[in-house]
Symmetry: D2
Subunit: 334 residues, 4 copies
């Protein structure tokens, strides 16, 4: 029955190749980020994005997001994000902690995606005086909290806006792999003009390693100090670097994301009008009554309720294709 | 030659039983701290300390120390610690971050240990007025930064002082296992009247899991929110819980610490007057000239310089006994 | 023409009796809050509220609000307030600074007033888990940002709710005098079950002194340290205490507030349907077109635009009754 | 007997010309810092220092120091200051609050003055790695906490060091006037290469207004937001601006400081070897036994004990010359 779990990708097993890489890192090396693996991260991400970048491992997406944002927004500034952004809704106030009280400025937008118009609706009314918090940065989520993906031209438009207003741009990529897999573009195209990306691996086959990718080395320099100061510089950092490198090796991250997306697409194929959002990544928000949910659970499917009239299904890198087919069939038969 | 490394215990390999436990945790369970293993921590530490306690895993000692201290000291207060305490010297200002600007109040003391007198020398001159920061807590390190251990009666005296002044008491136990192994007492005796203990496992055979043990459940409740807020609540927390439980199982932590201490004692046996501090745990601070250090390195021994006239050797749970004997012989022959 | 200014009460002249009291304080006394006048504040407010309270002067309402809230909400918590509350909209993020990143949780409500229902709509959906910020306190404004007053029974209902949920309650009383003047009740009835009140004097004839009144002495004790830590403990505090005491003497605060309210009522009498909010204090929000506003300005009346279709008029303790009559007439003639 | 008070300059009366200027500001003007007087500050300080500068009023020296430092040091950095600096010893942790946990790095130095050597002794041992807090700025006090003045060449040397290490430089000038009066140089020479100066007026005849003078307009821009965020932007800022302008008018600040210094010099003339520090400003630290202090107090002189074997006398702008002569005589007769 375990195979029928579609609760979340953030509790899935660790990919065998990640395990192997961790075991291979067992031999002692320099502590913290001084080991050979950690030192290799920057080069590997530079390869991936086709331009120089610096990368830091951290254990959680919350830490990645907040350390990135702390380089883009001063304590007296604000970060524009979607009203349903993870940093606003699910991080227990971590941005307030890491950014020393800076404010999240909430914008609307379909599918938890921002648009230039939505951003402008937030920042344009702000008087340029000291009584109001001024925006310093924008944070978007790729794929969004509803599994929606920003197209390269959408990113470009937001990037332009950010540039025009002197705002930093951060991408929360907890499911960045799923977005790239869906978009079929390069990672560089999927991140646009952002200065920093939280590149998620934990939901995609890793154990405890995310990467903050900085496209501006100055910011990475600051983030290194902030990471240590936040207690996120692990002694045996090589085990985190090993995870990330294993995920990058032969684009395992992309293969895993494609597998998760494929399972989601399979399920989506039978959902029809029940879908609250187009399925572009590995999350499905499906209208169904309490009774229908009960029926699905009786068949062994695990998932979260989404309010009182819907369910959320999340596929993972290791979702059983047969289980996805079975779920599709079950939903189709409701 | 790798076997001859005495650089640090914080880069050592992970113990096989810890690896096994982590692999065994691979099957999906509830995310974050909702899994069965994480839920078991409190009971296991309660067994170990013989009284009810609550325990949280975190990835680093810095996070453990700071999350613990944040429950004992308000932002406008101060924490008395040794001038050479890790929280003062090596944590990049993490206490200032986690405690929102609270101050570390630096006390003197031989071997980086505090005494009631040393603490009083710091707090007694503080005027009880609003112009001066008032002490809220004390933090001591067991074993200390120089590998010295607090005896139960020393802890009791500090505990009395803390109580008399209404101060919280925290123990940084990055090498708590080594202290217990040396003292030959129970863990409860080695922690005294502290409200919170950072129980270190990473230096002692773990990979990325320390425990904050709270002897006051109220504090643990607050720390849970603060852990999430600091980005330290990992999605797949079961892998951290598994590490801690494996270390507790059959007192692996104690066996590992004894092994490290034994290797240190072996080396110490030939150091004579060269020792700057009595060796009570797994660290040795050994007077030796630059030339002598060069000679030792030529024999394949790895270690850090300690200033210009000394070397620091640290043994670990997996230090090769033969290498320790060889090092002892080499030092004896200098 | 100066007499026709209805821009704001926060730039009005200082009342002659306040000036006198300040001059009388010129003789040197103990610095900071050690002088006789500062020491008298607690007793005077205790008299006023009919129960023991402690009071601290500070120079601004923002400081008063934030120092009060910092005693009621921990850094990882949240404060429920109205979406248009001054602390949310006009204090440049000061609550984020003083509360170390705690969050303002925005509730709706007519006239910028909260109701138990509105508060529940914010706090009831919050899951009691560590991923979401938990509410610690409620802050309401008496009179509200739209000049509306909470009746004693409304305060009681909010007080009950706060108590039931273990939440602190703070009243921003930047225009508390105007509220009491309107309600015709005692100050105690106008503040309800709050633990702390920011009692405003600057808008009501003072120069640079507000009072934080604590109905729980423990909180005042903490706030004293926080005030100094925030750089708000002035050397020559006696000049602030003198202002507050002069305002309390013979209820000058009430007389001043009544004068301001009377001027507002005079103007309101001719506004009819133009009023966006009932006038219960000294602010009027009046629908009028750009052309109408131009016409009023041509007659020498000063005021702020309120969006594109309205104007805000604020009366003060020293508003010229004739000017108020003239404005009433002018509005009536539009 | 009041005339014989030498307790502190921070409780002295307000100078008549300051009172006059405040009264003259009574007519309503724009609130906050929008009034004509506040807008004039920058030009007046630019005149005084002979180069463009921006200036903000604040109510306290603590706020001035901390708002200035917050523009020069990031939260993860450190500020080098003297072990006995006011920001370290007497501001209740305000720098920790305003700088979000940044650290004060304590240097030694005679007379509470820093030297390049003393600064280097603090910063040179700091490893350039993320485990240690890196210095971002230096703060010196002119005149120092022991009433000692930095000569222009001493300031130049510190300025060079700061520049060479990329460190900001702040001058706490709570008694800047006394320093300029003693040095006989221009204000510009007395402040050296600092980016920011806390120019104190409260101890020198003002009531509640200090100025932060920025020699880099960018920093002032940030400080404006931070001032509001700290609750230090007063509604009726014109009363603070009026104080500062009155002090600048015809160099009242300098005349007042000279008067205070002259009284101190008078007293010093009879102290001989009793002086613990050369008297260069308006403070005297005088060795005398408990019995001698008692004898002085019996003659009506007021002052603070300085430890068990000394007394501190502080003169003010309005110290009675006859009282100073009497005190000199009394000390000479001990």
């Amino acid at each position: 029955m375990k195979a029928r779990q579609f609760l979340s990708d953030n509790a899935a097993a660790v990919h065998p190749r990640v395990w192997e890489a961790m075991r291979a890192a067992d031999e002692a090396d320099a502590p913290y980020e001084g080991d050979a693996l950690s030192q290799e991260l920057g080069a590997r991400f530079s390869d991936l994005f086709g331009r120089e970048c610096a990368a830091l491992w951290v254990a959680t997406g919350t830490a990645a997001n907040c350390l990135a944002l702390a380089t883009l927004c001063e304590p007296h500034g604000g970060v524009v994000c979607h009203r349903e952004a993870h940093i606003e809704v699910d991080e227990a106030g971590a941005p307030g902690f890491y950014l020393h009280g800076a404010k999240l400025m909430l914008a609307e937008g379909e599918g938890a995606k921002l648009t230039p118009e939505a951003i402008r609706a937030v920042i344009d009314p702000i008087r340029d005086d000291v009584h109001q918090i001024q925006p310093h940065a924008i944070s978007i989520t790729q794929a969004s909290e509803y599994g929606r993906c920003y197209r390269p031209d959408e990113l470009a438009a937001i990037g332009e806006l950010a540039k025009a207003h002197g705002l930093g741009l951060h991408v929360d990529g907890a499911r960045f792999g799923n977005a790239v897999a869906f978009l079929g573009c390069s990672p560089a195209e999927a991140v646009g003009q952002a200065q920093a990306l939280s590149f998620g691996f934990v939901k995609n086959g890793g154990m405890s390693a995310e990467a903050i990718v900085f496209f501006d080395p100055e910011l990475a320099h600051v983030a290194c100090y902030r990471r240590k100061r936040a207690g996120h510089l692990q002694s045996k950092g090589r085990y985190l670097a090993a995870q990330v490198l294993a995920m990058l090796e032969d684009d395992l991250w992309l293969a895993n994301a494609r597998a998760a997306n494929a399972a989601a697409a399979e399920i989506a194929s039978s959902c029809g009008d029940r879908l609250m959002h187009p399925v572009e990544a590995n999350e499905l928000f499906v209208r169904c009554s309490a009774g229908e949910r009960e029926a699905l659970r009786a068949q062994g499917f695990g998932f979260y309720d989404w309010g009182s009239d819907a369910a959320r299904f999340v596929t993972a890198w290791n979702s059983d294709p047969d289980a996805a087919i079975a779920l599709a069939k079950a939903i189709g038969s409701l």
